[in-house]
């Protein structure tokens, strides 16, 4: 309990640090946002008025605290390009990205965990070697290229989905989920290949340990030894790697949303970066940072509970 409290405290401090960094990063940008917003109509009077409205005349420290308090309350400021609150722009988009990352992560688990164990069981056999080579190749294909291949093969040739025709959840939930299957799989495939490789080598390494021989000598069957003894030890490094994978999946969904034209947070982020709509960029970066740091801390804490050797120290 004390450990968790300590972790939560460090977590909050880290978030605060990140918020300072994000705020500072967007302060050093050359150029005045007001001239960009007003465009050709910028007169000194109008610029001064807008600066006053946006609160740009206040000292940076004050603006930081105002921004932070607003962020915690859910007030993310106003978009430069659309002139509407950022929260309105974001509504629904976070859920889409979260759904995409979620399905993708579940796919990684479903594909890689059984395959990793089976490959370890038949390690060094010919099928194992063939699959390992395939694995290495899949690992090297970027998710966005897999996405394009899927669009061509499943979208244009087999017509399993209409490329670019995203269906919102409110309209038809089943079509919404089925549209997300292919983008999610595109992200999941290379990641699964990495997890399979790690789990396989981790299990093969554990299989030469003394306790495995002892387990066999007590009359356990091969699968029993693998699932009850080897797996429990071999999974520990894999769990850390899964946390890294989840973070990568969240980042990867930014790219995949672009391939499949999914109107999620990543697409908005890119559009805002290209349009230099900084309040939106700032908010999305902050949200993704919170997600990334949370995943890392959850992995750290869960670690302690999965490995008794750490728990009982």
């Amino acid at each position: 309990m004390k450990y968790i409290l300590k972790k939560v405290a460090i977590f909050l401090i880290t978030l605060l640090g990140i918020s300072v960094l994000v705020f500072l990063a967007f302060q050093i940008i050359p150029g005045d946002p007001t001239t960009r917003m007003l465009g050709t109509q910028a007169t000194p009077e109008k610029v001064a008025l807008l600066r006053e409205q946006l609160g740009l005349n206040e000292p940076a420290v004050l603006r930081y605290f105002k921004w932070l308090v607003g962020f915690v309350k859910g007030d993310y400021g106003t978009s430069y390009s659309y002139n509407i609150p950022v929260s309105e722009l974001l509504s629904g988009k976070i859920a889409i990205t979260a759904a995409l990352s979620g399905i993708s992560f579940i796919m990684v688990l479903v594909i890689s965990l059984p395959l990793g164990v089976i490959l370890a069981r038949f390690a060094h056999s010919i099928p194992d070697r063939i699959i390992s080579v395939l694995n290495q190749i899949i690992m090297s294909i970027p998710a966005f290229f897999i996405g394009i291949i899927f669009t061509y093969v499943f979208g244009l040739i087999f017509k399993l989905f209409t490329p670019g025709d995203f269906i919102p959840y409110a309209e038809d939930p089943s079509k919404f989920w089925s549209f997300l299957v292919f983008p999610a799989l595109a992200i999941a495939l290379p990641k699964s290949a990495m997890v399979i490789k790690l789990l396989r080598s981790s299990m093969v390494k554990e299989m030469s340990e003394d306790y495995v021989r002892t387990a066999y000598s007590r009359g356990n069957s091969r699968w029993q030894v693998l699932s009850r003894h080897v797996m429990r030890n071999a999974i520990i490094p894999v769990i850390t790697f899964l946390a890294v994978t989840l973070v990568d999946i969240i980042a990867g969904s930014i790219i995949i949303e672009q391939v499949f034209a999914i109107p999620g947070m990543g697409r908005l982020l890119l559009a805002s970066i290209i349009g230099r709509d900084l309040p939106v960029v700032q908010t999305i970066i902050m949200i993704i940072s919170i997600a990334v740091i949370s995943v890392n801390y959850i992995a750290d804490i869960s670690y302690k509970y999965i490995d008794p050797r750490i728990r009982f120290r």
């Binding site: 880290t14 990063a25 967007f26 050093i28 940008i29 290495q136 190749i137 690992m139 090297s140 294909i141 970027p142 966005f144 290229f145 394009i148 291949i149 669009t151 061509y152 244009l156 490329p163 990495m194 490789k197 790690l198 080598s201 981790s202 520990i236 490094p237 894999v238 850390t240 790697f241 890294v244 973070v247 990568d248 969240i250 980042a251 990867g252 930014i254 790219i255 672009q258 391939v259 982020l269 890119l270 805002s272 970066i273 290209i274 230099r276 900084l278 960029v281 970066i285 993704i288 940072s289 990334v292 740091i293 890392n296 750290d300 670690y303 302690k304 490995d307 750490i310």
Partner: protein, 280 residues
């Protein structure tokens, strides 16, 4: 027992050798002018004169892929050079001397590596704008922590070895010990991190250009850019997407196999590092 040949290293080196020679060839000669458009030769499939077909503007795809791969690889080269040079310096100094500076640098490293590099690159690009030089500098800086971490670990290990102590007793200067005595001993590790660095750099550049925040279209072709453009003509000219995508994948595969062959397990290292941290 005879040691079995290092298939990963052989395959990786030959694959990379082939791709790099094609790319180097592309710097001097391409079958056609990569930018020459021709309305009559629009979207031709792969044939004898146009090996990989032509795109929607009648440009020869093979030439464009050669030029694009050259851009991608040269960006990767410069980015990795920046990352490796500064990473080795920082990692070497902190690993060799240890102390408070070491702690601080490692904490910053941990914080930076917790974030996916593509995300950090996007943040920086949203502030600085896009362009070839900017991408090189941004990626170069983002690669420093991973090199610093590897080199630091090796230096910290070598620091207490007898040959280093011996050198110290003989009065060799610290800088000489670091760069003349220790550095050659961590060569293989450094080489395989450089291979991984190339792997990540190619992927990062391709992703950023694909997202439209990398190379500007006016600068030169880039693999990510070709892939981005090919998406609109996916139905009429699928070979364009296929050529660019395969080129990216083959480049990445080559570097991945080399680093694998050099015995550097990236995945393993991050995992065991965490484990030690929790143990401590």
């Amino acid at each position: 027992m005879r040691k079995s040949p290092n298939y990963n290293l052989i395959a990786g080196c030959s694959l990379t050798a082939v791709t790099v020679s094609v790319i180097v060839l592309g710097f001097f000669w391409t079958p056609f002018d990569p930018d020459a458009m021709s309305p009559i030769k629009k979207s031709i499939g792969p044939c004898l004169s146009h090996f990989l077909g032509t795109d929607n503007f009648g440009r020869d795809i093979l030439s464009r892929v050669m030029e694009g791969a050259g851009t991608t690889l040269s960006i990767a080269f410069f980015a990795v050079s920046i990352g490796a040079t500064f990473g080795t310096l920082i990692g070497g100094l902190t690993g060799y001397f240890g102390g408070v500076a070491d702690e601080i640098v490692m904490r910053i490293n941990d914080a930076v590596t917790a974030f996916p590099s593509i995300l950090l690159a996007l943040v920086v690009v949203s502030i600085t704008g896009t362009g070839k030089e900017i991408i090189i500098i941004v990626l170069g800086i983002l690669f420093i922590p991973s090199f610093a971490r590897v080199v630091r670990g090796e230096f910290a290990k070598q620091r207490n070895m007898d040959y280093v102590r011996n050198a110290k007793l003989m009065g060799v200067r610290h800088t000489r010990i670091m760069f003349v005595h220790i550095l050659p001993n961590i060569g293989p590790v450094l080489l395989s991190s450089i291979a991984i660095g190339f792997n990540n750099a190619v992927l990062a550049e391709a992703s950023m250009s694909f997202l439209g925040v990398g190379i500007k279209p006016s600068e030169s072709a880039s693999l990510g850019r070709i892939l981005l453009e090919s998406q609109s003509y996916l139905f009429s000219a699928p070979w364009q997407a296929l050529s660019a995508g395969c080129a990216i994948s083959i480049l990445i595969l080559g570097f991945a196999l080399i680093s694998e062959g050099l015995g550097y397990r990236r995945v393993w290292r991050t995992a065991t590092k965490r484990r030690r941290k929790v143990d401590a």
